[in-house]
Symmetry: C2
Subunit: 255 residues, 2 copies
């Protein structure tokens, strides 16, 4: 088992931000500057081609820390955020770029490649969660949530399906395929799922079918008019309230 | 033009509740007990078989008044809440009850009957809005929202399509049909639309198709797991935040 090592710390606006490593995995932990001894933890997965400190990650983390007093952790996915790329990574990224330049569908490349990345990322997430729960301000008793769209869903669905410590999850903006849908069918915790109604990459029926696959008794679809990258900012606020409901925090600002 | 007459007034928990009539129409207006001189107005339409003071109406009104400081008005639909029924009303209600008792689909009866009710209700709503805007605490300048599910959608869609004073609307839990979809296609204001993913009366594709029909650039679908009558309570809070965003109020409690 790997331990967690903090490598840098900054603080602003009531939020402490600490870079960490767990083995070869690089991550960042956002925490309330002051608060109760222990607080729930939200794991966030970033999208393909980005990294742990992408603006969407930083923005969502600040909302969760300030709105609910939660801890929020993001790790760089394999091959992302300066982590080494394998030959498979290089080949698949090149194939995606060729498809995009040619205006061809990217789903047939993204879906299997992200499934491959998930196989590498899920054990990393579980080791990271073990290490995070060693911290006295997190501990092993508190509830854990997962929040990840795009590639963050491709990784988060198998993680949530296998990880009983995750009790609520926000997913979305990803394709249906047989294997991922089968995994989603093993998830029973509350789920909020977002999709873009006019997504130029993900066919509408594909997104709806992935939402349909979750076995959760409580699941909510939020579909917004707009293209792939036009997810409205208010969905981040909605996710904050979702985690406040399920992880037991109070939203302290009008999120 | 009819004037508005108040017929009763009570007050509790910071909310003033006044019964009113506009011609033969009976309604209720909920308002903040104290607040700014003028505030936005939300019109709410009740569902089939209920009335202006149904618990869902009272609950949503209190949320909007206390959360945003808005005025909220509900009127009894034709044939509802003690208002006289026509021979058409009696015939269609009997047909619905027969279909339900026989376990047959109710959509083929509800959809045309509610379209008929909308033809009677839309002019009533417009006269009521005229009269409400005569009140000094509402006025003609402030924005107006509409919030109605089930029959409240069947009436609210043609009302919103024809009424330029309505600048944002929450609809849902109703069937697609050609005529209603064509009317929805004339609506361009922001829309939040709810449906139940496992609705035993409204086929999933029918609800999705009605959402798809709105021409609004900003529209959001909230689809929740559950049957026709299992709309989660948190959707009322979501509607409050939707109106706070679009009518300019601040949500003052963690709604």
């Amino acid at each position: 088992m790997f331990s967690l090592h903090f490598t840098a710390e900054t603080s602003s606006d009531g939020v402490v931000e600490r870079d960490f490593t767990v083995g070869e995995v690089t991550g960042v932990l956002w925490s309330p500057a002051s608060g109760p001894d222990r607080a729930p933890l939200v794991l966030m997965g970033h999208g393909g081609g980005t990294h742990k400190r992408w603006p969407a990650m930083t923005g969502r983390a600040h909302r969760l820390v300030k709105g609910c007093g939660f801890h929020v952790a993001v790790i760089d996915a394999p091959g992302h955020g300066g982590r080494p790329r394998t030959a498979v990574d290089e080949r698949e990224i090149a194939a995606m770029q060729r498809a995009m330049a040619a205006g061809e569908p990217v789903g047939p490349i993204v879906v299997p490649y992200n499934a491959h990345l998930a196989e590498r990322a899920v054990p990393e997430w579980r080791a990271t969660l073990d290490a995070l729960q060693e911290l006295p301000e997190i501990g092993t008793e508190g509830p854990v949530g997962y929040f990840g769209l795009n590639m963050g869903t491709a990784i988060g669905v198998p993680l949530t399906a296998i990880e009983p410590r995750i009790v609520a999850a926000v997913f979305g903006i990803f394709w249906h395929d047989e294997s991922l849908a089968e995994t989603a069918g093993r998830i029973t915790v509350p789920v909020e799922f977002v999709l873009q109604w006019d997504d130029e990459h993900i066919p509408r029926q594909s997104g709806l079918a992935l939402f349909d696959a979750f076995a959760s008794k409580e699941k909510t679809l939020h579909a917004n008019a707009g293209r792939h990258k036009e997810l409205p900012r208010f969905e981040a606020d909605s996710a904050v309230r979702f985690f406040a409901r399920h992880l037991g925090g109070a939203v302290t600002s009008p999120a």
